[in-house]
């Protein structure tokens, strides 16, 4: 019962109420599945000690998934039991998340899976709700296509998506990211040698980083043509200042004692940089890299709205919106989201490897 005390009385009462409603409606209607969930949930709550809950939890997930699958059949739509079931599944998932969040952390690989379970359950529920509501309300495809339709489109047009991905992400975003970040890093090393320059450039750089630099996209398209160099140029302009500011800040992050120690060792500027200041700057540098990674993809996509060859994610999004092919638009967005998350994830992993000593990387 510890779980119940921790998850809060209101939540608990609300869930029981919803489950009762669900059982009542589901029992009289055409949905016996809801009853199954209710029984499982009740059993979970009242009978099982915390240690064995994991098995019932898995059963609960299975039941939810079963309901999810069956509700997509035609007979389960647009009635009161349908909505009750949606509520029940939502609350079931919520409860599951609460359970996972409250249960003691496991060690090793299981612990990692445990911390992934809650967001995964949330995401899956959201996706399922989207699908169910779109189908139940017969939302027109030109307004909001169901996830299954989007997945369908994603599978059928991998070739187009791949071409767009290469054009926008690999050619536009990645090359711009590399140039911009590299240039900012070298410039930061130069700036770092002069205190005057640092004091002048930090406020100006901070100011420029807050500006809507994405607005330079039409200018870059005018200068560098329609193809990917103009997109890379926009990305360079977007990532330069956040990266510069972070690197300069990071290079200043050592304290006087440490620098004095280097001086007593008679370390040259290069040695002090390599052995002390660069390592101390890595958390800042990775912060800049992570900010830049999201900016890069946005810059490359939005720059294509101002003119591009007949391929690329931004081009595809704007033309397919015009043709009301929204499933294609969502497929592009899914690819962009995946690419962006992977890019960010790789940087975060690298950060964990390089700055393992930093307090923010400690296990909680």
């Amino acid at each position: 019962m510890r779980v119940l005390q921790n998850t809060g009385g209101v939540q608990w009462a609300g869930m029981m109420l919803a489950l009762l409603v669900a059982v009542g409606l589901g029992g009289t209607g055409s949905l016996p599945f809801v009853a199954v969930i209710a029984v499982l949930a009740a059993g979970l709550i009242f009978l099982v000690p915390l240690a064995r809950m994991i098995w019932l939890m898995i059963a609960l997930i299975a039941a939810c998934l079963g309901v999810a699958a069956l509700s997509l059949l035609p007979f389960a739509q647009s009635t009161l039991p349908f909505w009750a079931m949606i509520v029940a599944v939502w609350l079931g998932a919520w409860f599951l998340v609460a359970l996972v969040a409250e249960s003691p952390r496991l060690s090793g690989l299981a612990g990692r899976g445990q911390s992934l379970l809650a967001p995964l359950a949330f995401g899956a529920t959201l996706l399922w709700l989207w699908e169910a509501v779109v189908r139940a309300l017969n939302v027109p495809r030109v307004i909001l296509p169901a996830p299954s339709l989007i997945w369908d489109r994603l599978i059928r047009s991998t070739d187009i998506l791949w071409v767009d991905f290469v054009q926008t992400f690999v050619k536009g975003a990645l090359s711009g990211f590399a140039i911009g970040v590299g240039a900012a890093f070298i410039f930061a090393l130069l700036v770092d040698r002069s205190d005057f320059l640092r004091r002048g450039l930090l406020p100006v750089g901070n100011f420029l980083a807050a500006l809507p630099i994405i607005g330079t996209a039409p200018i870059m398209v005018m200068w560098f043509g329609f193809d990917w160099p103009s997109k890379a140029a926009v990305v360079v302009a977007m990532v330069f200042f956040p990266m510069l500011v972070n690197t300069v800040q990071g290079l200043a992050a050592t304290d006087a004692m440490q620098r004095d120690l280097m001086r007593t060792y008679n370390a040259s500027w290069g040695q002090a940089l390599l052995k002390l200041r660069l390592p101390a700057a890595t958390p800042f540098i990775f912060n800049g890299l992570k900010i830049s990674s999201t900016l890069a993809l946005i810059g490359a996509i939005v720059a294509e709205f101002f003119g591009s060859p007949t391929r690329g994610m931004g081009f595809r999004i704007s033309t397919e919106v015009g043709r009301l092919q929204l499933d294609m638009v969502w497929a592009e967005i899914a690819v962009a989201a995946l690419a962006g998350s992977l890019f960010y994830g790789i940087l975060a992993l690298a950060e964990r490897g390089v700055t393992f000593w930093h307090p923010s990387q400690r296990k909680r």
């Binding site: 969040a101 307004i143 320059l197 500006l211 200018i219 939005v302 101002f306 962006g340």
Partner: protein, 298 residues
């Protein structure tokens, strides 16, 4: 104020670099013109020509400044459609377009920050919300939300919602996450000692929130609000692109790029920059005043 001289020096250097870049960027056109006229172009003539072209590849700073002045003050005061002659803002002035963008930005920013603060309060008080929503809030930062902007605009237009609201929705979306992330950090800023003290006072959850967590989150709040309002402005500008260049700074950018009016693009860009800078500055002033009155000034 210690930084004033270096900042001015760096700014002056940037403007000097800009002026220097104008000459090579625009010399192609100037030399073509001279060749067509059969003249030989001296260096002085080249410089003066590159600084004053009608449609330069890179307009000189003074051209942009003049265009900014003409399309705001001059247009409104003396223009045929200006506020003095017609009583309403001219649709050719940057004041009008800036206001269109600013209103969407402010609406989106207001909704976004209120939503963000309430979600942060929920996340701090509920483990389940923390475990399930927080990773998605962070992951959503890596997704190019701006790419969805044209779709949201077109779809909402199809449903019948036009004008301010669709743009504000995109601004909301962009300004929402910085506030959530910053406020979660801020609401968790009180340390164990302080929380324990509240416990010894037998303070209820809302009391802890009001008397300890919210006050100690203020520095984080203002920092994230600054990020959020800059993001909201970017969202409003990008949201104006797909509506076919009707009104707003984004529309000025788009129509400028259609007709090759580089000076117009640059002046719209600077108008956006001035808007962003003044809004961030406004929040900074608010921050300073608030923190001072709360006794938290640095």
């Amino acid at each position: 104020m210690r930084n004033l001289v270096p900042v001015l020096a760096v700014s002056a250097a940037l403007i000097a670099i800009w002026y220097a870049a104008v000459i090579p960027m625009n010399q192609q056109w100037a030399q073509d013109q001279a060749r067509r006229a059969g003249q030989d172009l001296s260096f002085i003539a080249l410089v003066t020509d590159t600084m004053s072209q009608q449609r330069p590849r890179l307009p000189a700073p003074h051209q942009v400044a003049a265009e900014l002045w003409n399309s705001t003050v001059v247009e409104e005061l003396t223009g045929r459609r200006g506020i003095v002659n017609t009583g309403s803002l001219s649709n050719r002035s940057l004041v009008y377009h800036g206001w269109v963008t600013l209103s969407a930005t402010l609406l989106g920013f207001a909704i976004g920050s209120v939503l963000g603060i309430s979600l942060a309060i929920g996340i701090v008080h509920n483990r389940a919300m923390d475990a399930s929503i927080m990773p998605w809030a962070i992951a959503s930062q890596t997704i190019p939300i701006l790419a969805i902007a044209p779709m949201i605009i077109v779809v909402l237009n199809a449903v019948g919602i036009t004008g301010l609201v669709p743009k504000a929705i995109i601004s909301t979306y962009l300004s929402f996450f910085p506030v959530v992330v910053g406020m979660v950090k801020g609401l968790r800023a009180p340390d164990h000692m302080q929380l324990d003290l509240m416990k010894t006072y037998y303070a209820s959850g809302p009391q802890v929130l009001l008397k300890l967590r919210l006050p100690s989150s203020m520095p984080y709040l203002f920092t994230s609000l600054k990020v959020a309002i800059a993001a909201a402005l970017v969202g409003a500008i990008v949201a104006e692109l797909p509506t076919g260049a009707v009104a707003g700074l984004g529309a000025r950018l788009l129509s400028g790029s259609y007709y090759g009016q580089t000076v117009q693009i640059w002046s719209a860009l600077f108008a956006a920059a001035i808007l962003a800078a003044s809004m961030v500055a406004l929040i900074s002033i608010l921050q300073r005043v608030t923190l001072k009155r709360m006794g938290m000034a640095a």
